[in-house]
């Protein structure tokens, strides 16, 4: 099979680089246009028009915003802790993007006799005839999202401003609490699937026109996971770390120019990740009508599901007011965690008898 480099065919490297580039560019574009979609959708929900001036119906608005942020003056507060201040936006942004490595966005496609699974961290074993991926995929995502908290906490601390510090402290308490609840709520799914590999979880949901989706088998887990993830990535109604009515802009008050843009991108990239993970775990991933017969349809279904969930996020933002801080902690520790534990016990009993 052509040229080999270090024991692997040339095609392997080409496929890997292509997958990484396509997924990365796609996520970047989605992030850019998610900001536009959010303003447009919330605008129409509140009987406004949203951005209209830049391009047809404001379609060039994200590019204009990007250029504006890029050329703004870079301000570093003189009393800030410089190293942590500079590194914090990067720590927030990188975990948001690298989680895409394990999310399967399609089935197996065949290019020039070489089978390529549409998932970045995966390869097709021709002797075993199946796809091998990271077999702790979900744990990897949870681990990376637990690193994302450092970006916000450090940004809050390093800015040396009271508002930023308050935002950082709130963020750390909130993200640790809801990380636990989110982790506990998806354990019930793994009890049914018996695996942590995302490829296998998607395969298990493939049968019978969508009725095998874990959304129907684990509705409580799906609901709790989605809500806890919203809290973990600081989306409204849980955006207390940057509550603008109390804390100016929370942890990113002192940030300007590209560094502020990085936090902005991290927030939206996290939203894409959470929606992609929810779609994979509960909505059958890339499964859909004819998805196995025509492999190119898999990514289309996957993207459609992700965009639908992102629309739900924006819908929630337009509908619900912000939670109070004690309500947030009460909801996390006294409602979601006990409910998730009960769900695990009930699932265990049912799975034992079936």
């Amino acid at each position: 099979m052509g040229i080999e480099i270090l024991g692997l065919p040339m095609m392997y490297y080409i496929a890997m680089v292509t997958k990484v580039l396509v997924a990365f560019v796609f996520v970047l574009l989605t992030v850019a246009y998610a900001t536009y979609a959010e303003r447009k959708i919330i605008g129409h929900m509140q009987v406004r028009l949203g951005p209209m001036r830049t391009g047809w119906h404001g379609l060039l608005q994200p590019i204009a915003d990007g250029v504006k942020l890029f050329f703004k003056e870079e301000i570093i507060p003189s009393q800030a802790s410089t190293f942590a201040f500079l590194v914090a936006p990067l720590i927030a942004l990188v975990p948001a993007f690298i989680t895409f490595a394990v999310i399967p966005f399609g089935g197996v496609i065949e290019v020039a006799g070489y089978k390529i699974p549409l998932q970045i961290a995966a390869y097709y074993d021709t002797t075993a005839g199946q796809v091998f991926d990271v077999n702790v995929g979900v744990l990897y995502i949870l681990a990376m999202s637990s690193l994302g908290v450092y970006g916000i906490v450090l940004a809050g601390w390093a800015s040396n401003s009271k508002y930023s510090l308050m935002g950082g402290l709130r963020a750390s308490a909130q993200m640790i609490s809801y990380e636990l609840a989110a982790g506990l709520s998806i354990i019930a799914v793994f009890m049914l699937s018996g695996t942590l590999s995302l490829t296998k979880i998607v395969e298990l949901q493939s049968g019978f026109g969508g009725f095998e989706w874990y959304l129907f088998k684990q509705p409580l887990a799906a609901f709790m996971f989605f809500i806890c993830s919203l809290a973990e990535i600081n989306r409204t109604p849980f955006d207390l770390p940057e509550a603008e009515t109390e804390l100016v802009s929370g942890f990113c008050t002192e940030y300007s120019s590209m560094k502020y843009a990085m936090f902005f991108m991290a927030e939206y990239a996290n939203m894409v990740t959470v929606c992609a993970l929810t779609a994979t775990l509960f909505l059958g991933g890339w499964n859909g009508p004819m998805a196995v017969a025509i492999p190119i349809l898999g990514p289309v279904y996957f993207v459609a599901k992700v965009y639908f969930l992102m629309f739900v996020c924006m819908w929630i933002r337009a509908t619900l007011p912000r939670y109070r801080y004690d309500q947030l902690m009460h909801l996390g520790w006294k409602v979601f965690i006990p409910a998730a534990l009960v769900n695990i016990i009930v699932t265990g009993i049912i799975a034992y008898f079936i």
């Binding site: 270090l6 802790s81 190293f83 942590a84 590194v87 091998f132 990271v134 077999n135 702790v136 744990l139 990897y140 949870l142 681990a143 990376m144 637990s146 690193l147 908290v149 450092y150 906490v153 450090l154 601390w157 390093a158 510090l165 950082g168 402290l169 750390s172 640790i176 990380e179 695996t195 942590l196 590999s197």
Partner: protein, 167 residues
């Protein structure tokens, strides 16, 4: 390829470990420690133990270090609070010297190839690391596991009693 990767990761691990003890600012030390934990997780992946790697990042880098950073932030330690104590320096260098001799002796005398256990790399990749760890914990080592959980329960209750005087 793997050797090159190992060398890169080791370089980062050693540099960040040195930075943990040389940084003046405690937050920067904590960040370097997180970096070291991350490199450790990479070693676990290279040793065919992805489950341990994920748990390493989740528990140490993700949970314990967040609490450390939280505490440092709230205590607001000054950067120049560290003073030099000569007697500590002498004692530390003596201990460091003996540890170095110990390590050199260990490296020279010890065998790199230990007797192989029942689990080979291929087997772990075939069955899955998580399954193997689960089986070992819940079948062969069930009693130690339960004892550990009782110990943790006692620690949790103790923490609650210490923190809350009036219940």
């Amino acid at each position: 390829m793997e050797t090159l990767f190992f060398l890169i990761v080791s370089f980062v691990a050693i540099v960040s470990a040195i930075l943990v003890i040389t940084c003046k600012n405690p937050i920067n030390s904590a960040l370097s420690l997180i970096m070291t934990f991350f490199c450790l997780a990479t070693y676990y992946v290279m040793l065919d133990a992805p489950f341990v790697a994920a748990v390493q990042v989740m528990v140490y880098a993700g949970a314990i270090m967040v609490l450390m950073v939280f505490t440092i932030m709230l205590l607001n330690i000054r950067v120049d609070a560290t003073k030099k104590h000569s007697h500590k320096l002498i004692l530390g260098s003596i201990i460091g010297f003996f540890t170095l001799i110990n390590l050199v002796v260990m490296l020279v005398k010890s065998r790199a190839a230990l007797p192989t256990g029942p689990y080979s790399g291929e087997m772990i990749r075939k069955i899955g690391h998580t399954e193997l760890v689960g089986r070992e914990i819940f079948i062969n080592f069930l009693l130690p596991f339960e004892v550990t959980s009782i110990l943790l329960l006692v620690a949790i209750i103790g923490a609650v009693i210490l923190a809350k005087k009036k219940i």
